[in-house]
Amino acid sequence: MKELVVSKIREGTVIDHISAGKALLVLRILKIQPGTALTVSMAMNVPSKKMGRKDIVKVEGMFIKDEELNKIALISPNATINLIKDYVIERKFKVHPPEVVEDVLKCPNHACISNAEREPVKAKFYIKREGMRVTARCHYCGRKIENLDDYIS
């Protein structure tokens, strides 16, 4: 008998095909933090035909904006989004990395102005996708980041 790891949701956003182990980073990107009033369920290391293992995040009662969801492509370019209404998939799409992100990544360069305390500055990065590889370049100091997982703010 098939068994659902995480129950179906009536309405909301399902983020599927997240690279295994990155569900918590997805929540961080979406700024869903402890203390949230949203009902959020999460499954990690779920067996997957395509990916071997994958993570899934379901956010009930909320349609997250495409521009927020596309930020997930920074760490998991294969992720797919299902927007659910009355238990039915209303829209399905693959995430695409945005060209520019603000306040999502932190510059690894300690001497970068974007890390200056008290300055009213938002860390801003230009995103480039080459196949499955996603890289970011700091708007201020020009530093290139290859391993984006390590620099989610």
């Binding site: 970068c112 102005i113 200056a116 009213p120 020009g142």
Partner: protein, 298 residues
Amino acid sequence: MRHLISISDLDREDISYILRKAEEFEDVATGKRKLRILEGKILGNLFFEPSTRTRMSFEVAMKRLGGDVINMTAQEATSIAKGETLADTIRVVSGYCDAIVIRHPLEGAARFAAENSSVPVINAGDGAGQHPTQTLLDLYTIKKECGRLDGITIALMGDLKYSRTIHSLIRALALFDVRIYLISPEALALPEDIMEEVRGEVKRARLEDVISEIDVLYVTRIQKERFPDEEEYRKVSGSYRITAETLKKAKDEMIVMHPLPRVDEIHPSVDTTKHARYFQQSFYGVPVRMAILSEVML
């Protein structure tokens, strides 16, 4: 409004335009011709880090064109830094003047300043980041002294890892048809990401192997303040030193450049050779900065 933050913001055409304009200002820079096109304009020099020639040459450029200058020195900057953010300082000072020249220890500070300024901002060095006006005067020196930019062979020697002058210059040279040799100790080699950006005619070399082939030898100081500790600095400083003897096999018309100040990487015996151009290079900073100032303020 136009800012000048990074050499990468300029294309080949922009660079050629500024260099042509600088040439028109050369006799004004020497005081032979009077020109007051910036009369009534005020330049704000904001130096959060010490500087002599960059600050002075901006000041001279402005004054030779009939304009005025207000200065904030590194010392005054320290007292401001105690309570005020850079963003606020820029918002205030941009109300006092028609353009701002900024030098700051943090990378990207000039771009951030431009975002908070109501007047054009010119980057005069942001930490280990960019120093575009130095690059433009370097290109101007090559063009004036070698007669061209396309087709030259240049060797960049010294601190290729930390030198912002080298990083900016190499990116700009990549816009032209130039062959570049990199001469440095392993520990001070050009960072990989810049190597990647300028792929093509860039090769690591030893000076003795290329000295007879090059048109320009660009030497940089091994900067103590960019090293994490004194021990590492001592290991490499002094290992790359040019003397008149070193240049014996060079072509007659080969020029030696240096952004100055030099410590001991160019021996004074080089000063009297036909190759030395570093003092001329320093002077060229004035017409080039005149071209930039008139471009952003008029």
